[in-house]
Subunit: 255 residues, 2 copies
């Protein structure tokens, strides 16, 4: 497929590389930021533009990998004059119908992308949706050339999937961050001492459910330890509140 990639941020960069590697062709990058557009175009060996009017009109697919907040406006601008083409966005939480084209779809790779890290796209689940069956097959075929894990999912269910991903990734990562803060402020152990514990916490889930895997004072409801730990957090009421809420949630989950 000949693909125009709209966006040049983290996600666009990662998807663009994966698509190029899969044998499909990114023919053009569009981004409002010329430096980003040029950088990504250089990596992928394709052309770029910063003007909507110059976006090719005959691509097989327009993939919009932009921040959620600008998606709607950009989709409208792009579709104009290219009404018969296939457009997808890559956002987990956004409805397919935000794209005002008959041939519209979603191509959502669920992963946490950071500029500093290369990810292995074969392992990343991609969730596909399309308004038309032919386009769905096209998107599934493209996704399968990139990843071993391709699923169909409608917009309503994808919203919950994305919400679950916020818990499993962003919120879990914030728990790591709060642990790091406690170490920084008390007792001089570097955060790296936590890595074997964090690795095992993730690894366990390949064999046990999160509920089976749970350990620690909250699931045992060890009031003595919980009381003392609440005390340790008395100078940081926000942290104390999070501790209390999550401990109770763990406890109630077990009941």
């Amino acid at each position: 497929m000949n693909i125009v990639l709209v966006g040049a941020g983290n996600l666009a960069t990662n998807i663009g590389k994966a698509i190029s590697r899969s044998g499909h062709q990114i023919v053009q990058i569009y981004s409002r930021t010329e430096a980003s557009a040029r950088t990504l175009a250089d990596i992928l060996g394709c052309t770029y533009t910063t003007s909507i009017d110059e976006v090719f009109e005959d691509a097989d697919l327009y993939m919009i990998a932009l921040k959620d907040s600008v998606l709607k406006d950009m989709a409208e601008l792009l579709v104009k004059g290219r009404e018969n083409r296939l457009f997808v966005h890559t956002a987990g939480s956004i409805d397919m119908d935000i794209i005002p084209a008959l041939r519209r779809g979603v191509f959502y790779p669920m992963q946490t992308f950071s500029k500093q890290r290369e990810v292995d796209f074969r392992e990343i689940p991609i969730f596909i949706e399309a308004a038309h069956a032919d386009d769905r097959d096209l998107l599934k075929s493209l996704a399968s050339d990139i990843s071993g894990k391709v699923y169909e999912l409608n917009s309503e269910n994808r919203k919950y999937l994305h919400l679950a991903a916020v818990f499993c990734c962003n919120f879990a990562n914030h728990c790591f961050r709060l642990g790091e803060k406690l170490l920084d402020e008390h007792g001089g152990m570097p955060f790296e001492v936590m890595l074997p514990l964090i690795d095992e916490t993730a690894r366990k889930l390949h064999e046990l459910t999160p509920q089976e895997a749970q350990t620690g004072p909250a699931v045992r409801w060890d009031e003595n330890v919980i009381g003392k730990q609440m005390q340790l957090l008395s100078d940081t009421p926000d942290l104390q509140h999070i501790y209390e809420l999550l401990s109770k949630s763990i406890h109630h989950d077990k009941l």
Copy 2:
């Protein structure tokens, strides 16, 4: 060293195996529950007892791997008549001085132990403390035979380390559990679709700090997505409260 192991639960089982493998000798298991004591004694090829009076009096080390709530009482019973011996407990959050013996210490392997999973003790950090320098050296030597990661840490700092571990392990795991619940209740994706995301979330921390690694709507403070996700949780106020609190905590962390 000849070691009496007090306890026959998850932690005792894992430590007992690791000690046996290291060339040291577990000579006796004590547990109030005969079935558990016998099972572990069979695994380790040693004797066991359910009576405090029959606990050997001449071991080099008494390692108490019990629930925090019974630690104090058990330590008192054990020390009586064995006043010159070396006693340690294995609890992250408990003061060394809970043991009423001159030769007392702590031997805390920081990991999440589940019965169903074998762990690689070489990778588990062990935190050592002792009232006397000779005993500290003895414990460090034992720990080094089991693990490649041995640290000295006093009781005060260990309390914060253990609290940090609750965030990095138990609370992060609960975020995985809440994600699983959302998937169970909406939209029929199996939890295993989350595993690549969870694995990458943990793996990233070997290269980036948790703050650098953060992604998602809260760190971008994408009010549109946050508002919609709060809405999706309106039927589950407890979950909604956790969502709000963690999102704000991520946002404030960035400021």
